[in-house]
C-alpha cells in the first residue's frame, strides 16, 4: 500500500463516519418529529367534538345491535356474534369512510386556515415528520374506536358464552385498519390539494359519493344490465375500495348470497376467497399509501400555510 493511500484511508473512514452519523442524526430527528406530531394530533383529536361523536357512534352501534337481540337471531344463515359482526361491518362501511374523509379534511384544512400551520410549521419540525406524524396520529384516532367497539362486543359475547368467530374477527380488524388507512390517505391528499375548508369538504364529499355510486348494487348493477363489457365492470369493482371492502366482508359468510351483487360474484369466482381477502386488505392499504405519498409530495412542494 502506498504512503498516500495510508494517509487517505483514515480521512475516508472519518468522512464515512461523518456521513453515517449525519444520516443517523436525520433519522433520529425524523423519528422524534413523527412521535411528537403523532402524539400532538392524537391529543388534539381526542379533545375535538367530532371525536366524541365518532366514538359514541361506534359504541352506540354495538350497544344497539346487542339490544336488538342480533346475537340471538338467525337471518340469511348468520347467527350468534357472526350476525352482529356482519351487520356492524356493513354499518362501518357506510359510516367510516365519510366520517374519516370529512373529519380529516376539516381538521387539516381548518388548521391551515386558522393559522395553526403558520405557527407550528415555524418550529423546527421536518415536513415529513409533520405530514406522516399527523397521518399516524389520525389513524390511531379513527381506527381505535371502530376496533374497540368490535373488541368490546366480542369480549361481552365471550362473557355471555356466545361463540365468537375469532378468525372473522381478525380479518375484520385487518380490513377495518385497511379501510381507515385508505380513506385517511385520500383525505390527506384532498387536504394538500384544496386550499380552503369549504373546497376540501366539498371534494371529500364528492369522492365519497362517487365511490358509493360505483357499488355493486347501484351503478355497477345498472352497467351490467346495460351490457357493458364484464371486464370494465369487474375492473371498477376491484378499484373501488368500498366495493372491495363490501365483497370481502360478505364473502366471509356466504359467497352464494344474492346480496353479493353481480360483479362481486364474478370476482370471487375468479380470485378464490383466500386470495381475494388478501387483496381486500392489500389494495386499500396500497391505495391509501399512494394517495398519502402524493399528498405529501404536493404538501412539500406547495405553500405550507
Amino acid at each position: 500500500m502506498s504512503e498516500e493511500a495510508l494517509v487517505a484511508e483514515p480521512e475516508e473512514a472519518s468522512s464515512r463516519r461523518r456521513t453515517g452519523s449525519s444520516v443517523a442524526r436525520r433519522r433520529s430527528s425524523l423519528l422524534r418529529d413523527l412521535v411528537q406530531v403523532a402524539t400532538l394530533d392524537l391529543s388534539e383529536s381526542i379533545r375535538a367534538h367530532w371525536f366524541a361523536v365518532y366514538a359514541v357512534v361506534f359504541g352506540g352501534v354495538i350497544v344497539l345491535l346487542f339490544s336488538f337481540g342480533l346475537t340471538e337471531s338467525r337471518i340469511l344463515g348468520f347467527l350468534g356474534l357472526s350476525r352482529l359482526l356482519v351487520t356492524y361491518i356493513q354499518l362501518c362501511m357506510a359510516i367510516l369512510p365519510v366520517f374519516v374523509l370529512i373529519t380529516t379534511v376539516r381538521s387539516v384544512a381548518g388548521d391551515r386556515e386558522a393559522g395553526v400551520f403558520e405557527y407550528l410549521l415555524a418550529l423546527p419540525v421536518s415536513l415529513a415528520g409533520w405530514f406522516w406524524g399527523r397521518l399516524l396520529g389520525r389513524f390511531a384516532v379513527v381506527f381505535l374506536p371502530a376496533f374497540l367497539a368490535m373488541a368490546a362486543a366480542s369480549g361481552w359475547a365471550t362473557f355471555q358464552q356466545i361463540e365468537v368467530p375469532w378468525a372473522t374477527f381478525g380479518i375484520y380488524t385487518a380490513m377495518l385498519a385497511a379501510l381507515c388507512w385508505c380513506f385517511l390517505g385520500i383525505g390527506m391528499l384532498i387536504s394538500s390539494l384544496a386550499r380552503s375548508v369549504d373546497l376540501a369538504q366539498g371534494a371529500a364529499f364528492v369522492v365519497w359519493l362517487f365511490l358509493v355510486l360505483f357499488l355493486d348494487l347501484i351503478l355497477l348493477g345498472v352497467m351490467v344490465q346495460e351490457q357493458l363489457p364484464a371486464e370494465t365492470v369487474v375492473a371498477i369493482a376491484l378499484v373501488n375500495p368500498l366495493q372491495v371492502f363490501r365483497t370481502a366482508a360478505l364473502s366471509l359468510f356466504d359467497p352464494e348470497l344474492v346480496l353479493l351483487g353481480p360483479s362481486a360474484f364474478v370476482i370471487l369466482d375468479a380470485f378464490g376467497r383466500k386470495a381475494y381477502l388478501i387483496f381486500a386488505v392489500a389494495w386499500p392499504v396500497a391505495l391509501g399509501s399512494l394517495c398519502a405519498t402524493l399528498g405529501f409530495a404536493v404538501f412539500r412542494r406547495s405553500d405550507l400555510p
Binding site: 430527528s29 422524534r32 418529529d33 411528537q36 400532538l40 391529543s43 388534539e44 379533545r47 375535538a48 386558522a114 393559522g115 395553526v116 400551520f117 403558520e118 405557527y119 407550528l120 410549521l121 415555524a122 418550529l123 423546527p124 419540525v125 421536518s126 415536513l127 412542494r301 406547495s302 405553500d303 405550507l304 400555510p305
Partner: protein
C-alpha cells in the same frame, strides 16, 4: 456563505398570477433590529412567511447563510417567531411548552422563566387549553417560546399589540438582553408602534420596498422618570395612570412613576385622552427614589 444574518435578493412571490412581492432585496447584518412597516396588503406577512420557509418563492432568501426552505429544521431551530394572531390550539399550555421545547432542543424552564418575567405564571395554567387563555396571556407565552435560548433571529408580527404596559416594559428588557446576539424583524402596520424598538425602518407598499432608513433609537431597556400633574382628581385618569405603574401623590392630583423608553409614544397616546386635565408633564432622566419623592 453569506455574512448577513438575513439575505434577500430578487425575492418575488405571486398568488394566482397576482404579484405580492416584486424583486425585493434586503440585507440585515447580525444583531440589527428592523421594523417592517406598511399598510394592509403591502406584503409584510408574505415576506415573513418567505423568511420562515413557508412559501415557495423566486429569488434568494437566506437566514444565517442557509435557505429556510431547504434547511428548515436547522434554520428554524435558531429562529423565534411570534405571529400577529395566536393560533387556536386546543392543546394545554404544558403540552405546547413540551412540544416546542423538545422540537427546538430548548430548556422549558428558561421559557417558563421568561413567561414569568412577562407576568405569566405557567404552573397554574399548565392544564388549561391554549385557546382558552386571554389574548395577552397567549401573546406572552408565544413571546417566551420565541425568545428561548439559542434563538439568533427573531421574527415578530406586532409582538406588543396585546400586552399591558408592565408586560411591554419587560418585553423591551428581554429584547434588550438579546439585542447583542439576535437579529430582529418586527412587523407592524403602524410605525409608531415599533419605531422605538428598532434602528432601521423598511417600509413595504404593494410588494416593493418604498423606504429603507436608519433611525435614531434609544436603548431598549431605557426607563424615563415621569411626573404628571392633573388639574383635579379624576377616577378614569387615576386608573389609567395606575395601570402604567404610577403612584398617586397630593390627593390623586400628582402621579409619579416611570415609562419604558420605547413605550413613550404609546404613553403620550394614553395621556392625550386626558389632555383637558393635564396641567404639567415632566419626562426625562432615570427614575430614582429621590425623583419619585419630589
Amino acid at each position: 456563505m453569506s455574512r448577513a444574518a438575513i439575505q434577500i435578493d430578487g425575492l418575488s412571490k405571486s398568488f394566482q398570477g397576482v404579484p405580492v412581492l416584486e424583486g425585493l432585496g434586503l440585507e440585515l447584518p447580525a444583531g440589527q433590529r428592523i421594523a417592517l412597516v406598511g399598510p394592509n396588503g403591502a406584503g409584510k406577512t408574505t415576506l415573513i412567511r418567505c423568511l420562515l420557509g413557508q412559501y415557495r418563492c423566486d429569488g434568494v432568501v437566506e437566514i444565517l447563510g442557509r435557505s429556510p426552505r431547504r434547511d428548515r429544521t436547522r434554520i428554524l431551530g435558531e429562529v423565534g417567531f411570534v405571529p400577529q394572531l395566536p393560533p387556536p390550539l386546543r392543546m394545554p399550555v404544558g403540552q405546547l411548552l413540551r412540544f416546542a421545547s423538545r422540537l427546538c432542543g430548548a430548556d422549558s424552564a428558561a421559557i417558563e422563566n421568561d413567561a414569568a418575567r412577562l407576568g405569566l405564571e405557567i404552573p397554574p395554567l399548565r392544564r388549561r387549553a391554549f385557546a382558552k387563555l386571554s389574548g395577552g396571556q397567549k401573546q406572552k407565552l408565544l413571546i417566551a417560546i420565541a425568545l428561548r435560548p439559542g434563538t439568533r433571529v427573531l421574527i415578530m408580527d406586532e409582538p406588543a399589540a396585546n400586552l399591558d404596559p408592565a408586560a411591554r416594559s419587560v418585553l423591551f428588557e428581554l429584547l434588550a438582553e438579546r439585542s447583542e446576539d439576535a437579529t430582529m424583524v418586527i412587523s407592524s402596520h403602524r410605525l409608531d408602534e415599533v419605531a422605538a424598538l428598532v434602528e432601521r425602518v423598511v417600509e413595504l407598499d404593494r410588494g416593493r420596498i418604498v423606504l429603507d432608513q436608519r433611525i435614531a433609537s434609544g436603548a431598549l431597556d431605557e426607563r424615563l422618570a415621569c411626573r404628571i400633574e392633573l388639574s383635579r382628581a379624576e377616577d378614569s385618569a387615576r386608573d389609567a395612570l395606575l395601570a402604567w405603574g404610577f403612584r398617586a401623590r397630593t390627593g390623586e392630583r400628582v402621579f409619579v412613576g416611570s415609562v419604558a423608553g420605547p413605550d413613550r409614544l404609546r404613553f403620550f397616546g394614553m395621556l392625550a385622552r386626558y389632555a383637558g386635565l393635564v396641567e404639567g408633564v415632566q419626562l426625562g432622566g432615570s427614575p430614582t427614589p429621590e425623583r419619585e419623592r419630589a
